[in-house]
Structures are given as structure tokens and as C-alpha cells.
Symmetry: C2
């Protein structure tokens, strides 16, 4: 989670068995690896890069702890000289990457590691683990943001996220992608994210009477009070709270919102809006939650349901329709020679690559060119150096900056890609230079 | 991950806003919450309970750190007296639960917390987060085990797990459910799990010649050597490695296995088996990986593909077809009175409950009865007390013990539930006593 929690043994065993062989052969020349996505998941017209900051933290602090070295020495798989060499291992390489929040597509590398082979190899597993997850969540959350238009969006998903780190990082990734905040308190503390929270059904149930529960909660939280109204009968609760709402308004601390968490959210929100309006409480907002994702939010928006904010949890937090990306971290070059994997269905473009993005006069993206770094086609190059000699080059951008970047990126997407329905693929042209290099590498390998 | 990493603020904001209101009202009588699954996901005939040990660790060590208390005091939402009271908060309650590895079904509570209301409320979010994830993974992994019959199964999924904790806990949960080990080194170190690992395609590609890569790897890992043979041409590699395999066997360290990671795994395995057998290398095992899940493993088994072991990653580790459970932690009783939630589609059975399991003479499960604790129908009760007064009652069972328990449980399932295809639901009878209590609670609540 924070850099201090990182353990070098958070990796696949094969990284270490390969490192032993590299050590025995004295293979430590410069290796170049790139991270990219092989295929867009169904239901995604674009991806949003995220997780770079956690990768930089990880690389900057990479080292084996004493307990880890002891364990390695005692496990019977590695020789002592090799384990001793690991005690000194630090990441001394360079990293080039696209900024977090950048929209990208199939085959486009969003991160490149250039480092002595053992370092570049060892970090593969955790690096993929960090980049794929936040990219997955940011890409899903961006769709929810597009569907919600300017409605309030809150990450409610901690409980069904896959563990603590997933909960924390999805709060971060969804905020970058356009959510307004999270219910996850530790994420709020760690990244200074706006926090949102109301009450659970259990709060109502611990009281013998729903209205008494409302009164008690309002007394403790007069400054920011949202009441959950669906425990027994949503519309009856909306009626029943009107006298309390009038007293709160009279006391200068008006009730902010009601939350509906079950049933037909569109239908309930309309009825509740009518009840509140008829009671003179036009300023009370309606907040909805329960099984929401971009499709449900879009349907509610389309039906003009009078919902002001959405709590979106599980389905965003687990990227439930597509819970992983077909992504890879692949060797592109070793000891100065380009490399290429040709396994069936998994061939990759060799060499160090750069993405050039093209835009029309209005700023709308019109296509990308994938070519070799050093090439200078028209367009804006997306990858830039973020670490040199194992150190980060500039301070981490604020999450607000990254969030603005995503907003700008989404606004520049071709309109058909912004829709939830599948769009024709965005044009990514492979340059003639890159095709020629692939041909040469194929001719040389075996 | 370990208990020491736990933070009390790893929770939803609303738990704390509710606690402030409970504090203001002096509401601290005993509350009873139960964790259960509301609905079986499509493609699951049963669930396997997992995650209890992590819940016990969490509850035993629950406390607010000084930095957390400072943050709470400064965030402007809570009053000082309340925050001061949190400094002293520890979990002092009881926990009743089914043993990890127990098969269970819809509406059956697998864990009950009995504690002063603020404690029982605060822990909701992390408790669900821990129980739902490991239960999700153990339930998926058990299906892979059933499909693989007695084949070797290794968790390969760290890279696409949702963060570090998901990677660690899915290694644990899949081992309990019948996997033989994991590639995740830190999980191996933490829980003494068998580790497996070979080499990546990048290892082959850093060498100018595939055979040189094989030779180098074999030299460093003569005791346990598996070669990855699909980087360029799977069958050509199988032919090419025969002289090396003969030399290794002659030197007393025979090549253990080859791994195939792409293409038609059934077809390749048959051809590779034929090549190895024709070369006199019948003892070399074939290990397969790449996009595997229970359906793919079952299809390979059904087609009698000569595969000895399977690396199963992403789809097991993310429970890709069903990445979350519709589960809840619900108030059942407060201050001695049973409670029931009645929100649309989310009604729950009230009171403290017990599951009684029925078996036929051969030991096969024939149905469960869900009733009130204290009731004594026929059958074996599944929930037992695991924590009392905030302390665990017995030492954590070994993972080997839990794994044996799952094996016994899976063997006792009705045969139709063991198949991958959807089966008619297992019979869970709701007792007359429980129905009567629900009726009484409904009559009382509003």
C-alpha cells in the first residue's frame, strides 16, 4: 500500500529462479521491458492509465528485508552467493511512462523499464499487479463518470473489493477517473480524498422506531446529515421525516439528503421527490445506491430520475463485467538487440516504442501512431522519462491534477468512444519502421 | 495482510458517523450481527467458507493508531469526547462461526458477532471485505480442483490479482480449497505453502538461442527443472531438448517437466507427449498454463490431454466469471430484541441462528435446517464459538488441516453439486420456529 509495506518477495518464484540463472551466467546487461494491453475487454472503448505513482514508490524503495533473505537462504532453492547478491539489489534503472490518467489503446506501451536485466526481471510481477488493477478501475470508473454526467459519484465499494489494497487503490483510481470521493476512511486519510457516508440499515434497526433513529442521527450530525429511508417503506419514511426536516431548517442546519438503497431507484426517487417537494423541501437532495454501474446510472439518467448523487460500489470496485485486463510486461530489447515474443496469439512489437497522438483542430483525438522511440512523425509523443538512475525526476502530481487530466482526456475522445456501447476501434497505426524491425527480428530469431 | 498491517480506519465513514450517534445516545448494549450470502452466483452450486482466521486476527488486534485518532480529531466531523473514547476501543465480544473450509448455502450465517453495539458496527466493512474475498476464491478454486481430479494445481495469478492482499489471500484460499501450491513467494513464506515456478518467455528471449537458454537454466536448477517450450515453436523445442534431457538424466538430475503456455493446449500436449515418449523421455511431465479455469481444465481432462499439472491464474484469482458475492453482515438482535431488515428484495431472517446439516448413511449431505440457536433438530450443528470476550479460544488450525476439511466436504457433496453445470438447489429448510420469529418481528416493527 504505502511504499513501506512493499516486500521484495511479493513476486512470482520464477523471477527468482531466473535471477539465479542470470547470476550464474553473469547476465546483467541492460534489458528493456514494456507494459501494454493486448486486447480491449468487451465493453471498453478505451482505457485510462493509472497506478504509475505506486510503481515509482515500489521501484524507489525496492530491497530485500533481512527476514526475506534468511528465508531465501534457507529454502533450499538458491545458493548463498546469489542470496548475498540480493542483499545489495536496488533499482537503478530508468522508467518512461505516459502520465496517469492518459487514455490509451491496444498494443500501446504505457510504461517502459530500462535497467540491468535482474532488476527489470524481478519487478515484473508487482509492476503488473499495480498497473493492471488501477488501470482496470480507472477505466471502469471513467465510464461511470461519463454515464453520470455531472452527478455526484461516490465510491462505496470497500466491502466487496478484493482485500484492503484493492479497496484503497480503487478509491484512488476512481477519484482520478472522475468520482467525487469515497466512503473509505483510510483512503481519505492517505490521499486527502473527500469522504462521504450516511448511515446503515442497522442504525435504523437498533432503534425501535425509524423516526427516533432519524432524530438521533440528526442531533449528532446536524452539519452534514443524510438519512437512509428504505429500511421499511421508502415513501412512508419520506413523509415521516418532513417535520424533522422543517425543524432542522429552522435551526439553520437543513437536512442535506436522503438515500435510497433498494427497489426501483427511478420510481422511488420520483415519488420521494414529489413528497419532499410537496412538503416544501425542494433543497433536500436524493442520493441512490445499490447494484449500480455505468449502465444502471445511464438508464436512471436517461429516464430523468430525480437523483442527485450515486453511490457506486462493488461493480465499479471489482470491475465486475471485466475483472482483469489481458496485459503483459514484455522484453523488448536485451544487450542492445531488439527481442520479440512469437508464441501463438501472443506476438509482440519489438524495440523501444513511442506513441504519437493526433488531434483535429478542435482538439479531438483522431488516431495514434505506434513507432520506435527516436522516430519523429507528426503528433504528440505520450511517453516521457519519469525515473532516471532509480530516482523519480519530479514530485508526484496531486490527485486533483490527475483528475483534471482525465477530464480533459475524456473530453477529447471521439464522441462514439465516449458512449457506453461498443464503438469501432480507435485508429492506432503501426509505423513502417516498427514493422520492418519486427521483420528483421523474426529473420534473426531461430 | 498480517494482523500488524490492520488499521481501524480501514472502514466506511458511515460506521464512524453511526458510532458518534451511538456515543451521543449512550447506545452500547449487546448487538448481534450475522454474515451470510443472499444469493448463489450463477455457476456455483455451493460455497466454501474462508477467511475466518484473518477476521479473528483483525478483531484481536483492533485499535486506533495515534495517527488515526489525530486525523479523526482534526477532520471536523467528530467531537473530541467521542474521539477520545475510540482510543480505548478494543473488541471484547464473542464470535461464533463455521470452520473455514465448510461448504455452505444461501441465507446460512457462517459467522456471528455478539458484542457491544459500537464494536460490532465498526468492524462490518473489513469483516465483509475479508470473508467475502476468501470465500469467493475458495469457492472458485474448489471447482477447479473438482475439474482437475488429481492433477497438480498451482496458483499462478498474483500479477492480475487485485493488489497485494488479494494475491496473498487468494494463494491461501486456493490452497485450502485443494490447490497444491502457488507461485507467490511471499505467500509461500508467510503460510509455508509449496512454491512452484519455472521460467518466463523473457528468459528464453534474453538468449540468442532457445537451447542455450535451456542449458543455462538446467545448469542453475538441476534439482528442480521445468523448461518453457512455447516461445517460438513448441514441438521444435520439445525435439531440441531431448539431448539435454538425456544428459541431465545421465547426470542423475533428470528434467522434471516442460511447460506449454499458449495455443491449443490439448493438441500441443499430445504432440509433445509423443515427441518425448519417442525420445525415451516418458518421465518428463507436461505442465500447462494460460487462460485456464475450471471449464478449460475440465475440457482438457475430458479430452484426455496428457497434461500432468495446471497453472491456473487470473480467472481463479479474480473469480473472473463471478467477481463478487451478494453477501451481507446484518443486525439480527439489539438489546435482547430480534431485528429484521425488510427492504425490497433484501429481507433477512431475524435472531441468532444455527445451521444443522443432515447426512445419509454413506455420509453424503442430504439437506440443512436453518433454525434458531438453542433449537435441537436432528443433524450436526455447524456454528461453534471461536472467540470469547475478545480472545480466540483455540490456536489457528494448520492450512493442511483446513485443506483436508475441504477435501472431506467436497467428497460429501451430493454428486450433482460436484459437477460444473448448474444443479437443482441444495435443500435448506427454514424451521417453523424461525418463520414464527420473523412473523413476530414484522408485527412489532411499524
Amino acid at each position: 500500500m504505502s511504499a513501506n509495506d512493499e516486500r521484495a518477495l511479493l513476486t512470482d518464484l520464477y523471477q527468482l529462479t531466473m535471477l539465479q540463472a542470470y547470476f550464474d551466467q553473469g547476465m546483467a546487461e541492460t534489458a528493456v521491458f514494456e507494459f501494454f494491453v493486448r486486447k480491449l475487454p468487451a465493453g471498453r472503448n478505451f482505457l485510462v492509465a493509472a497506478g504509475l505513482e505506486q510503481v515509482i514508490d515500489y521501484l524507489e524503495t525496492l530491497h530485500f528485508g533481512a527476514d526475506e533473505l534468511d528465508w531465501l537462504a534457507g529454502c533450499g532453492r538458491f545458493d548463498r552467493r546469489f542470496v548475498d547478491s540480493l542483499a545489495k539489489l536496488r533499482f537503478t534503472g530508468d522508467v518512461q511512462a505516459v502520465p496517469e490518467g492518459t487514455v490509451f489503446f491496444v498494443d500501446e506501451p504505457i510504461l517502459r523499464v530500462i535497467a540491468p536485466l535482474p532488476q527489470a526481471q524481478l519487478v515484473e510481477t508487482r509492476l503488473i499487479n499495480l498497473l493492471q488493477f488501477q488501470t482496470l478501475i480507472a477505466s471502469k470508473a471513467a465510464r461511470v463518470r461519463l454515464a453520470a454526467r455531472d452527478g455526484l459519484l461516490v465510491d462505496f465499494g470497500m466491502r466487496r473489493a478484493h482485500g484492503a489494497e484493492a479497496a484503497l487503490l480503487s478509491a484512488r483510481a476512481s477519484f482520478i477517473a472522475g468520482f467525487d470521493g469515497t466512503s473509505n476512511v483510510l483512503a481519505g486519510m492517505r490521499w486527502d480524498l473527500p469522504l462521504f457516508g450516511t448511515m446503515a440499515h442497522s442504525f435504523i434497526q437498533t432503534h425501535d422506531d425509524e423516526l427516533a433513529a432519524f432524530e438521533h442521527f440528526a442531533r449528532s450530525h446536524s452539519k452534514a446529515c443524510t438519512l437512509l429511508i428504505d429500511t421499511y417503506d421508502t415513501e412512508a419514511a419520506a413523509h415521516a421525516l418532513l417535520p424533522l426536516a422543517r425543524r432542522m431548517a429552522a435551526a439553520g442546519s437543513p437536512l442535506q439528503a436522503v438515500r435510497i438503497d433498494s427497489g426501483d431507484l427511478g420510481e422511488h426517487s420520483r415519488r420521494v421527490r414529489a413528497i419532499l417537494d410537496a412538503g416544501g423541501e425542494r433543497a433536500i437532495r436524493i442520493f441512490a445506491s445499490g447494484n449500480l454501474d455505468e449502465y444502471a446510472v445511464h438508464a436512471l439518467r436517461d429516464a430523468q430520475a430525480p437523483i442527485d448523487g450515486f453511490g457506486v460500489g462493488t461493480r465499479m470496485n471489482t470491475s465486475a463485467d471485466q475483472p482483469y485486463l489481458d496485459c503483459a510486461y514484455k522484453l523488448q530489447e536485451y544487450a542492445g538487440r531488439p527481442r520479440r515474443k512469437r508464441s501463438e496469439g501472443k506476438a509482440t512489437w519489438p524495440g523501444r516504442k513511442q506513441i504519437f497522438r493526433h488531434r483535429d483542430k478542435t482538439g479531438t483525438m483522431t488516431g495514434d501512431t505506434l513507432t520506435l522511440a527516436g522516430d519523429t512523425p507528426p503528433g504528440t509523443p505520450l511517453l516521457a522519462t519519469v525515473m532516471q538512475g532509480g530516482r523519480r525526476l519530479t514530485a508526484a502530481p496531486s490527485l486533483a491534477t490527475l483528475r483534471d487530466h482525465v477530464k480533459t482526456q475524456l473530453a477529447a475522445l471521439p464522441p462514439e468512444l465516449r458512449r457506453l456501447d461498443p464503438a469501432p476501434p480507435y485508429r492506432v497505426e503501426i509505423s513502417a519502421q516498427l514493422r520492418e524491425l519486427a521483420r528483421q527480428v523474426d529473420a534473426r530469431q531461430r
